[in-house]
Amino acid sequence: MDNKGTLTFLIVVAAVSIRWCVSLNPYSGAGKPPMFGDYEAQRHWMEMTYHLPVKEWYHNTSTNDLQYWGLDYPPLTAYHSWLCGYVADKVNPDWVALQRSRGHESEGHKLFMRYTVLVADLLVYIPAVIAFFLWTVKDRSNIQLLAFAAVTLLYPGLVLIDYGHFQYNCISLGFTLWAVVAMATNHELLGSVAFVLALNYKQMELYHAVPFFCYLLGRCLWSKDEIRLWKLAKIGVFVIGTFALCWLPFLHDIDHIQQVIHRIFPFARGLFEDKVSNIWCSLNVIIKLKNLLSQPLLIRLSLASTLICLAPSAVNLLLNPSIQKLKYALVNSSLVFFLFSYQVHEKSILIAALPVCLLIHEQPFVCTWFLLISVFSMLPLLIKDGLILATIPLMVLFYTGSKVSQSSWVTPPTSDQRGQSASFRNFAFWCSILGVIALTACSLVIQSPQRFPDLWPVLVSIYSCGHFILFLISFNYLQFTSEDIGQTSAIEGAVQSKLGGRDGHQGVGNKTKKGGKRKQKTNKVD
């Protein structure tokens, strides 16, 4: 059972089985004309990109009604839609017939759409998860690594949204993950290309952009080599080049670019939609900011608050650009964006959940807790889509898997388990989970009163929002203290080997030296 290849294979097969089980459930907007849901949006994009010339994709024309699920994702999504549309047309032209196929629903088509997600997942996300744990985490046994990979693959949020609700988050998140893998293995150019691809698949990946930027900039600035500028220039060229390639069909016309950007960033859609577990939606219960302030003011307010909360983590990473800090900064940045930025969707929590998954082997307790709450924060959506029956078992499975991966079966017990604080945090955890269970039960069983039709969704968002704020604080704390590991290892050589795994691919000795130098430099800068 210690064979790495066989175990990996078994885990992938299990992950696919679970994903396919979820795909048996209904998708968003199934049987709900006239607008249906995200499933129809994706189908419509296939229809449109396949039949219309590129220059009409983002424009309102007689054949392209942008009011009906107009394309509002960056070009890579459009190309992907075109590819799927091409295959769909070969299999059954009715699925993507121009205009005539609106609201098309059939068993065969559902199956086709589910397969497209599975293929994307198998090509991008699943290998990225395996690669992350096998290539970048050191000093753990194969069984441990693969157990963590399995837990990450079982994270219910992504599975439910991609295979139930219907989206292709696995692609954008998968590219981001590949970016982290590449950075951790010292392939910064490849990493930046992967991240640009993610960004060009889904603009929401901007939530991750600041940490990547700070990390790369920091690496260039504090690089030992004399050719820092050259390094920076190379990365810049690769980033701009990838962008240019992705936008190639739109580059001939500046108006065209503006139109695409206008479609991608719809500021007109308001501060938030539906019930999101962020600050603005929660504040809305007390102060109706939406009515008090004008839209430009709201945009400025959200921008300012986002930047202020983002600053500490970003500066910290810029000064100490290590993979460890990058991962924490990714969590912090995406959480800040989720909590404070403009026009946030409840599904955007997945963007924060991804980097949390990458920390699950270091902070299993906090990460498991966060991931469970993140799924819970999407509860109203999941109930609406009829996915609750899949959500509950997935949550149980995920929690069990996470417990097993931490248990003595997989991880030999370590000495640094703090007894007292552990029992306190367990108490807090179970109180929190009790709240989750109670709110879930209420949402399912008790009809909300007439006066407050959104009582349960609002309570769910406020409850999750409170958690997210606390998580944001603790992940910031963890990011700042994660430096201590480096210092300790610099002093105690014996601890080095133990902690080496936490620093990704870099050799421990190397890392320590670099860290030391960096610190000196930091002092000078200060």
């Binding site: 097969v13 199956l111 078992p393």
Partner: protein, 529 residues
């Protein structure tokens, strides 16, 4: 030690819950109808009711089981309990029925846990629980591919019933013989198909419980017969049956009940040919017919029957060249092929392992030669054989062959495209787990061959198992692409039956051979693997 089994059970239960929205066969409606019958009709009408074509044809305990379930079903959706609501499947009904299978499966989990406690103490050298036989066994049984797809997709209550069977076997292994006999009697009154393994129970209990001593050469000591024990057993079994059938005997309905339980109107083979001897027989008949017509030995008229025979939908058909098989012939063959194993069990009881081996052999005989055998019955061999697989190398070899082939032969049960990835993934996962875990269990044993091969199997077995892959690819992918689905609709099923029946019969012969050889040289007593 037993903690891991509950982890396995928890994970598997979540998987089962995820399968709730999957495809349901007509068996779902069968069980809904039985819920309705037992809930809304008096006992006297249970076995007479025929509004639905799916009449109650399980023994009375199962009817009572449905009755108990229906008491909870009321809370979910009372509509499902109306006899006239044919084909009723509201989401509450689906949820309730699916959950009832998942919850009653806990009987199996409990039985597996109990059985694992009878296994020899785990080796100390392995730090992790992974490579312990108990852990392996609990996954082999709780996550059994066949049980998963038959119970949780197709819809039946086999997990619960096999749980009872395992419990009975476990009690007998623990020397709590009367309890074991009691559970087996109960099981028989839940589903009478288990009567196929009853001969093994009868012989084993008579030999080791009613006769209390053996001669020095291992033979039975005739003077040690204990009438008290015999009487105890008899009274126990008869009273369980009386409890079950008594009310119907009192109402003078026994013939009606029995006619429902044993419907001989059905044909030799089920709609899809189970991979047994008769599948080969049918194919031989068909091949001979074609050859005969070509050479003019057989008149062309017989070909008119071809459609009815090959479509596989008509349950009864006449053989054209080979003699048609009456039910009595199948019984005779089943009995005859069981006989050597039973005699062997009598001569060399061989402890619990010999008993389990004998159960498996009885199940094999009835599966291979029985009348109107369902493909699902293959679990009757796979489940007891799993118990042996973790304890003995030779049995593990047969188990790997049989479980792979047997589970593969269940594929046609799930024919909906949406479920295809699940059945393929689960099959791959389960089979690879079997091979990997058996490999790590028996790694010290030297069985290397010069040619590449799968763990524990020789190159020829390996080729046979690997051959399942192209077979599947042909049947599910190439055949439809070639556009033969209409003209040669039967061909994939026929190929599968024939290919699998070869494997099943081969596994049977091999298990038979090792069993007979083993007892003769008394390996069982001298060497524990």
């Amino acid at each position: 030690m037993a903690a891991y089994i509950w982890v396995v059970v928890a994970c598997l239960s979540t998987l089962k819950c995820l399968l709730i929205p999957s495809y349901r066969s007509t068996d779902f409606e069968v069980h809904r109808n039985w819920l309705a019958i037992t809930h809304s009709l008096p006992i006297s009408k249970w076995y007479f009711e025929d509004t639905s074509e799916w009449t109650l044809d399980y023994p009375p305990f199962f009817a009572w089981f449905e009755y108990l379930l229906s008491q909870i079903a009321v809370l979910f959706d009372p509509e499902m309990l109306k006899v006239n609501n044919l084909g009723y499947a509201s989401s509450a009904t689906i949820l309730f029925q699916r959950l009832s299978v998942i919850v009653t499966d806990l009987v199996l989990a409990y039985a597996v846990k109990e059985f694992c406690l009878t296994l020899p103490k785990p080796r100390e050298d392995g730090v992790r629980g992974w490579s312990q036989p108990g852990f392996t066994l609990s996954i082999l049984l709780v996550a059994n591919f066949g049980l998963l797809i038959i119970d949780h997709i197709h819809f039946q209550y086999n997990g619960f019933l096999f749980g009872l069977m395992l419990l009975s076997i476990t009690r007998i292994c623990q020397d709590r013989t009367l309890e074991g006999a009691f559970w087996f009697a109960v099981l028989l009154n839940f589903k009478h198909i288990y009567i196929y393994v009853a001969p093994a129970y009868f012989v084993y209990l008579l030999r080791t419980y009613c006769f209390t001593a053996s001669n020095k050469n291992g033979g039975v000591k005739w003077t040690s017969f204990s009438p008290v024990r015999f009487l105890c057993l008899g009274v126990l079994v008869i009273s369980v049956c009386a409890l079950s059938f008594g009310p119907f005997i009192a109402m003078d309905q026994l013939p009606q009940v029995l006619s429902r339980l044993f419907p001989f109107k059905r044909g030799l083979c089920h709609a899809y040919w189970a991979p047994n001897f008769w599948a080969l027989y049918n194919v031989a008949d068909k091949a001979l017919t074609v050859v005969g017509v070509k050479t003019g030995v057989v008149s062309g008229d017989v070909l008119k029957h071809k459609a009815s025979m090959t479509a596989g939908l008509v349950q009864e058909f006449e053989h054209t060249v080979l003699p048609s098989v009456p039910p009595i012939a199948t019984f005779a063959l089943t009995g005859l092929t069981m006989l050597p194993s039973l005699l062997h069990l009598w001569r060399y009881p061989g402890g619990p392992k010999g008993f389990i081996r004998s159960i498996t052999l009885c199940a094999f005989s009835s599966f291979i030669f029985g009348w109107h055998v369902h493909e699902k019955a293959v679990l009757l061999m796979i489940v007891p054989l799993s118990l042996l697989a973790v304890q003995s190398f030779k049995d593990a070899q047969v188990f790997l062959l049989l479980s792979t082939v047997g589970h593969f032969s269940l594929f046609p049960l799930l024919f909906t495209p949406a479920e295809t990835p699940i059945k393929v993934c689960l099959m791959i996962a389960y089979t690879s787990f079997c091979f990997v875990s058996m490999d790590s269990c028996y790694r010290p044993i030297n069985y290397t061959f010069s040619l590449p091969h799968l763990p524990l199997l020789n190159p020829i077995d390996t080729m046979y198992i690997v051959g399942l892959v192209p077979l599947y690819v042909y049947c599910d992918i190439i055949h439809p692409i070639l556009g033969l689905s209409q003209t040669l609709a039967f061909l994939p099923l026929l190929l599968m039956s024939v290919y699998c029946s070869v494997g099943v019969i081969y596994s049977w012969l091999r298990l038979y051979w090792t069993t007979l050889k083993r007892g003769g040289t008394k390996v069982e007593h001298s060497k524990q693997e």
